[in-house]
């Protein structure tokens, strides 16, 4: 019996170690004064200092954050409209069509999204750069917001709307006083997801960004292609901590909304 109980624990431990090892490996060597990802020489904070002194990098971080916030706000608005639209469509066939179209961008590989948006922006004459990246991020975040908001709308008892009407609320009052407050947790979750998708995106941005504009992911890629540089390690430690902070934040948001509805694996 004893032996039997041990193996699962060992197996799970190995999986956990493997999953976390590369991340901690990165973080560990961010303190290496030797400047390589092997043979730890001595402790240093030089690489962090370098990150914070690199104004170009800081501008990129700022760009990434601004772009993420803007795209999250706009896509949340469009996404809430989308969820309401899908909810209120009465014909089942139209509803299914809308849902399928909504999911196209969720299941499509990033290369396809990136390549097709590149064509689109070129055709309609949008300069590649901040605008194109922002539009692309809004575009691929909208369906995520819809997916996060729709279940909240669907779980809402239709009797609540009837009740509000019954108590004298006009159509707009029903929306502002009942529906929107009710789905607020879903809206927050959607906003949060849109934010993280935007912060994290590499492939789509890589396609539609021009020469002048870069986001953090794209910058990491081009740095990594040049080989090992411990500023990336330092950067990844910071990003890891920020991510953990966001995950905890999201955890509390979704706990308020009752259950980890949207917690999923991410690229």
């Amino acid at each position: 019996m004893e032996k039997k109980r041990k193996w699962p624990a060992i197996y799970l431990s190995i999986v956990f170690v493997i999953l976390y090892a590369p991340i901690f490996y990165l973080m560990y060597y961010s303190f290496n004064s030797a400047g390589t990802m092997y043979s730890f020489d001595g402790f240093t904070l030089d690489w962090y200092r370098e990150v914070f002194q690199d104004t170009r990098l800081l501008v990129i971080v700022l760009n990434t954050v601004i772009n993420a916030l803007l795209s999250a706000v706009v896509s949340t608005i469009i996404g809430v409209f989308g969820a309401l639209a899908i909810m209120y469509v009465k014909t089942q066939r139209i509803k299914n069509t809308l849902l399928s179209l909504n999911n196209v961008l969720i299941v499509s590989p990033d290369v396809i999204i990136g390549a097709s948006f590149l064509i689109l922006f070129t055709i309609i004459g949008i300069q590649l750069g901040f605008t194109s990246v922002l539009l692309a991020h809004i575009a691929f975040s909208v369906p995520i917001v819809v997916i996060m908001v729709l279940p909240k709308l669907q779980e809402m008892s239709p009797a609540l709307i009837d009740a509000a009407r019954d108590l004298g609320a006009s159509r707009f009052e029903v929306l502002s006083k009942v529906i929107l407050p009710y789905i607020t947790p879903g809206i927050f979750a959607g906003f949060f997801m849109a934010l993280t998708y935007s912060l994290d995106d590499f492939a789509v941005t890589f396609f539609v960004t021009g020469n002048g504009f870069t986001t953090l992911s794209v910058e990491i890629y081009s740095l990594a292609r040049q080989g090992v540089s411990l500023t990336i390690n330092a950067l990844s430690t910071i990003i890891f901590l920020v991510t953990i902070g966001l995950v905890i934040g999201y955890y509390f948001i979704s706990r308020q909304s009752g259950g980890l509805t949207g917690m999923g694996v991410r690229k």
Partner: protein
């Protein structure tokens, strides 16, 4: 239209796609009474409620409120309020905000709202619960909040859509008393929807029994219980023994192979009919002294009485509620008064039925 009528349906039909949910229904609702719409699920009772509330529109026919057609008046402009089946309390608002919802929409002054909400909560015995969240309230308490939210708007009519169905038996009985009492205190019209016949009998001034989108019978609880119009009503309201029979002549009916004296008259002679005898109207006696001779098939102890299932020689089932115990397998006799026999004609309309019953009463008076 009499002054006391508040709501009237005139040949109202409601179709969903091709399915007819209400089939040319007409009735009047008077002020200050407790009405119950009773019927199995899908009979159209909730549809009537939703039509009154304004959540759906009739396919044809007119609905009058206070003498005016309200077919096109949206729900938020109607002077009725609903207590919903699952209460439909707003989960993001607390008790006070829920009850105040309708008043805030009307843009009343804050002080007035506070006053009215307090009063309404007092009415439903929920003083001091203003700041509770909805999910902190028990089922019975939510029920009261829902009622308070409706009555605070001082509507002329309150619609209740199976509001007790989610409660357990004991609480349900308690709330039946409370609702009845509340209606009498407020003096406004209650229209109550339920599929529970006991609930309907206990609370109502008037019951509408519905089936297949048609009002089968309307009347006071005792009328409907004692004189069901047809097999459906007899079966749905209480337990009944229903058997095919023949009306031989006035006051003489035959069923179960024998002839019996009854109180019904005015039917065609030798008209095939159905008779109803309630289980509690049957009494057990020794084999040869009964009007019917039956064999006891099974027996259940129900607390207040024994429920005894018997069969006569024609294999008709007879259900008896008796405080006396019987022995399974034994042959016993059943007796009953001639008033206990209730005769139902096939396809009799409510109008004809009422006329027939009125004739009996006149006859009684004449005697």
């Amino acid at each position: 239209m009499s002054d006391n009528t508040i709501i009237q349906f005139d040949q109202v039909t409601k179709k969903f796609d091709d399915a007819i949910v209400l089939d040319s229904v007409s009735f009047k609702i008077e002020r200050g009474k407790f009405y119950t719409l009773l019927g199995p699920s899908g009979c159209g009772k909730t549809t009537i409620l939703r039509l009154i509330a304004g959540f759906t529109e009739p396919s044809s026919g007119s609905i009058y409120f206070d003498g005016k057609v309200i077919n096109d008046v949206p729900a938020n402009k109607r002077q009725v309020n609903t207590v919903f089946q699952d209460y439909a309390l707003f989960p993001h608002l607390n008790v006070f905000e829920n009850v105040a919802f309708g008043l805030k929409i009307k843009k009343m002054k804050k002080a007035v709202i506070g006053e009215k909400v307090k009063e309404a909560l007092k009415f439903v015995n929920l003083e001091g619960y203003e700041n509770r969240e909805i999910n902190e309230m028990s089922g019975g308490q939510r029920q009261r909040v829902a009622i308070a939210r409706a009555i605070v708007n001082e509507p002329e009519v309150i619609l209740l859509d199976e509001p007790l169905s989610a409660l357990d038996l004991k609480l349900r009985t308690e709330m039946q008393y409370e609702l009845r009492e509340l209606q009498q205190r407020l003096g406004i019209t209650f229209i109550f929807v339920t599929h529970d016949q006991e609930e309907a009998l206990a609370m109502s001034d008037e019951i509408f029994v519905l089936n297949h989108g048609i009002i089968q019978q309307s009347g006071t609880p005792t009328d409907i219980y004692d004189e069901p119009i047809n097999r459906f009503v007899a079966d749905f309201i209480g337990e009944s023994n229903i058997t095919a029979g023949v009306m031989i002549e006035d006051y003489k009916v035959s069923f179960a192979g024998k002839e019996f004296i009854c109180v019904d008259r005015g039917l065609n002679s030798n008209e095939p009919i159905e008779i109803v005898i309630r289980p509690e109207d049957l009494a057990i006696t020794v084999r040869d002294e009964g009007k019917l001779r039956v064999r006891v098939d099974s027996q259940l102890f129900r607390g207040v009485h024994y429920e005894i299932c018997c069969y006569d020689e024609f294999e008709n089932e007879w259900l008896v509620h008796s405080t006396k115990k019987a022995t399974v397998g034994e042959e016993i006799g059943l007796t009953f008064d001639s008033e206990a026999i209730h005769v139902m004609r096939f396809n009799e309309s409510e109008e004809e039925f009422d006329k027939r019953l009125e004739a009996y009463v006149e006859k009684d008076h004449a005697n």
